[in-house]
Amino acid sequence: MSVLVYVEQAEGKFKKSVYEAVSYAKAIADQQSTNLTAISIGNVAEDELKELGKYGASKVLNVSTEQLKTFVNQAYASVIANAAEKESADVVVLSNSFSGKGLAPRIAVKLKAGLADGAVELPTTDGKFAVKKTAFSGKAFAITELTSANKVIALNPNAFGVKENATDATIENFTADVKQSDLGTVIKDIVRATDKVSLPDAELVVSAGRGLKGPENWGMIEELANLLGAATACSKPVSDADWRPHSEHVGQTGISISPNLYIAIGISGAIQHLAGVSSSKVIVVINKDPEAPFFKVADYGIVGDAFEVVPKLIEALKAHKA
């Protein structure tokens, strides 16, 4: 018995959400008095792999096969499931990232395992192995028992935190046979906005709605976000009107986020919007309508016109930083 964590790399580096997954997997390994093995696929330098020891991985399987350098959902799932079998790992943990969401279900089927995705807490240790996960787009949580012998958990970003647990990680090369039929998809291009903070795992988010009146007014939102090191987001009417890209839409039919700080500007707070952001740790609402429903679920609020408040907020933030 052991725990296996898949550590997703992007351009040879691990992100904070990966260290969160490793920390979480280490805590499960401790619950079960067993060891944690990590598996990395792609081109990652040895120093970066060694980093994983800091969060509790005692062994790192390194898959650097040429044909697996770029992400192929099917093949990656085969390799991870294969590693789980070879390591006798009955719990597989990965980050609930975009790629993780494509991988976890395939790994679960291969291992005949129950899958808890969107996990926000450690499994219970009352003999039930029940995992708390988000449900109803943030309106509730479902405590889901994984009743199968093998178990797969996809951990939400920003839910568990990074916990250091210094371990000396040994690095082993791992090879697994990949079927030709597992290589059915080919990546033609990757477009990444490198100057922006990615929304799903952002710690701070500045979001704006219809109250901004038009796409030309987003300059101050971006300035505020840049000053904070925050990602930008928007409400559904804004992305529907093409003022902002769909990838920024948070809410019930957009993406659900749980940053440390969510600043909502000119968003009234319809139930569908609240669903996607209600698990944010601190919510700040700026709205000129004192009756806006968003104030009922906010921690801090300013009743005022965004066009007056936001520039002042930017000034105050600059003064605070100086």
Binding site: F98, V109, L115
Partner: protein, 245 residues
């Protein structure tokens, strides 16, 4: 071209979510059900791809007869026929297995789902169907172009997108942007009544997950209001009290 679209029957987006029986069951009293909004995007794309005699669209749902109005809605939007696998949809693993069992000898070129259902937020069914059928699956796509036997898709990744090509059969889960949701017109609504809705029985599989309890998020305290001309006070609260900046 034959396309299968998997649809889920979910509570309307405005539903206030509550639970009964000591928080072990979702309270369905007074709840309006709809076609999962992301599945509607998948369905709209499938219709777009097959319009003008270029193919057919079948919708599949795993559920009981109470789901039929939702399935008829999908037929009204423009699916050609529908299949309901008669079973309580236990979890994504169960649902995906039923869909794969139905699809395995039907020769569908493309199987589409929504990126996730808005009730259990799984995003599991598409990739699981792909795995059961041993064909590629591409999750959370924003764009889909089909050219003969191959397709080009744009998949969402953190902070950007990935352009992926695939040839042959595949499964994909659709996010916003793939297609504009189609609204049923009067002709669609009329014809939906007579379109085929076939009911098939479920295959039995082992249980892998079970929801034991639900919780609702802890309520927040009273909002602290800061005067509009004292933004520095907000910054100071966020710094020293909330400790988030």
């Amino acid at each position: 071209m034959k396309i299968l679209v998997c649809i889920s029957n979910v509570p309307d987006t405005t539903t206030k979510i509550t639970f009964t029986n000591d928080n072990t069951e979702f309270n369905t009293a007074g709840v309006q059900y709809i076609v999962n909004p992301y599945d509607e995007i998948a369905l709209s794309k499938a219709i777009e791809l097959t319009e003008g005699g270029k193919g057919t669209v079948t919708v599949i749902n795993v559920g009981e007869a109470s789901n039929d109005p939702t399935i008829r809605k999908a037929l009204a939007i423009g699916a050609d026929d529908a299949v309901r696998v008669n079973a309580v949809p236990r979890d994504a693993y169960f649902v995906a297995k039923q869909i794969a069992e139905y699809a395995k000898d039907k020769d569908f070129n493309i199987i589409l789902t929504g990126r996730e259902s808005i009730d259990y937020n799984g995003n599991q069914v598409a990739a699981m169907v792909g795995e059961f059928l041993d064909i590629p699956s591409i999750s959370i796509i924003k764009k889909l172009d089909v050219d003969g036997d191959s397709a080009t898709l744009e998949r969402e990744i953190e902070g950007g997108k990935e352009v992926v090509t695939v040839s042959g059969k595949f499964v994909a889960s659709c996010a916003e942007g793939v297609a504009e949701p189609k609204i049923p017109n009067m002709r669609g609504i009329m014809s939906a009544r007579t379109k085929p809705l076939n009911v098939v029985e479920a295959v039995s599989i082992e249980e892998v997950t079970k929801v034991t309890k639900y919780e609702t998020p802890a309520p927040r305290g009273q909002v602290k209001l800061v005067p509009a001309d004292q933004t520095e006070q907000l910054i100071s609260l966020l710094h020293s009290e909330a400790k988030v900046i």
